[in-house]
């Protein structure tokens, strides 16, 4: 059952959430933008989802900016570090 608003068929949450995701990857068409905007005006669930998408993107940016990645997870092992350091020293030796 489609919900109507002044004769216009409003898009469903399923359609809106898909558009909200695509808005992060491509410019939406005017029709899509209006559809999404109208839907978001009346839908708390999709407002929440849109906010979550933004939070996910921000978190990814912070992973790449290295803030978020320094938690708990294991780093390089001591052996790996030693091996890499040795490779570096060899290369430096070749250079000079």
């Amino acid at each position: 059952m489609a919900i109507r608003f002044k004769g216009i068929r409003l898009i469903t949450c399923q359609e809106a959430s898909r558009l909200a995701s695509q808005a992060q990857d491509r410019p939406l068409t005017l029709k899509e933008r209006i559809g999404l905007r109208l839907h978001l005006l009346i839908c708390v669930g999709c407002q929440g989802f849109t906010r979550q998408l933004k939070q996910i993107r921000q978190a990814c940016q912070r992973v790449t900016n290295s803030e978020g990645i320094n938690v708990e997870t294991e780093g390089l092992s001591t052996t790996a570090k030693a091996r890499i350091l040795q490779e570096i020293t060899v290369k430096q030796g070749n250079k000079s």
Binding site: S21, D25, I84
Partner: protein, 196 residues
């Protein structure tokens, strides 16, 4: 006067940034040995290219940029090997299976997305990052690749399509599928649904 450039000190790069680079590589490569190799290659390449470091970014950002290229190269190589065929043929069908679980028959959320605490304002940021990294690591490989390229490596969808030889529609569908997967996972581990 121009800012003084940091010294070329690869041993310090390893100490200061090695763990970070390794974790960044591991997130995408999901293979410890491959991630170690990628870090090593990155540092060696950086040593060779040090003259080109302009000092406009931090050393870490510069090293991460090199690492991203190494990861891309590795995936290109992997794509030619028969055991790595991570991309699914019909992402739309896979998405629609998930949508059936998340939305009711009228297209409304079966469970409304909750309002997440802002991890930055929150007192337990640690718990957020643990949840977030867990969810990122547990994305299905087929979705993870596209999502990493877009959100961690910062490629445009056009570039992703070229890289993975997929259509832009499939790319959008796969990104959406990945985001829904992450959203669901975080809903459990960070949002209202968490049960710690």
């Amino acid at each position: 006067m121009s800012k003084e450039l940091p010294r070329c000190d690869p041993a310090a790069w390893l100490t200061d940034h090695g763990d970070y680079l390794y974790r960044f590589a591991l997130l995408q490569l999901r293979d410890e040995a491959a991630a170690e190799d990628a870090v090593q290659e990155t540092l060696l390449a950086a040593l060779g290219a040090w003259e080109r470091f302009s000092g406009q970014s931090t050393v870490r950002t510069w090293l991460t940029g090199i690492l991203k290229h190494k990861i891309l190269d590795l995936f290109r190589k992997r794509a030619k090997e028969p055991q790595y065929t991570p991309l699914i043929d019909n992402p739309e069908a896979e998405l629609s299976r998930l949508e059936q679980a998340l939305f009711d028959t009228t297209g409304h959320w079966a469970h409304k997305p909750s309002a997440w605490n802002d991890p930055e304002a929150s007192l337990d940021q640690q718990r957020f990052w643990t949840a977030f990294l867990y969810c990122l690591e547990h994305l299905a490989p087929s979705q993870a690749r596209v999502f990493h390229l877009r959100e961690l490596d910062g490629l445009s969808t056009e570039d992703i399509c070229k890289e993975l030889k997929i259509t832009s529609t499939n790319c959008w569908v796969m990104l959406y599928r990945a985001r829904l997967g992450l959203q669901q996972c975080l809903e459990h581990r960070w949002g209202d649904g968490h049960s710690i």
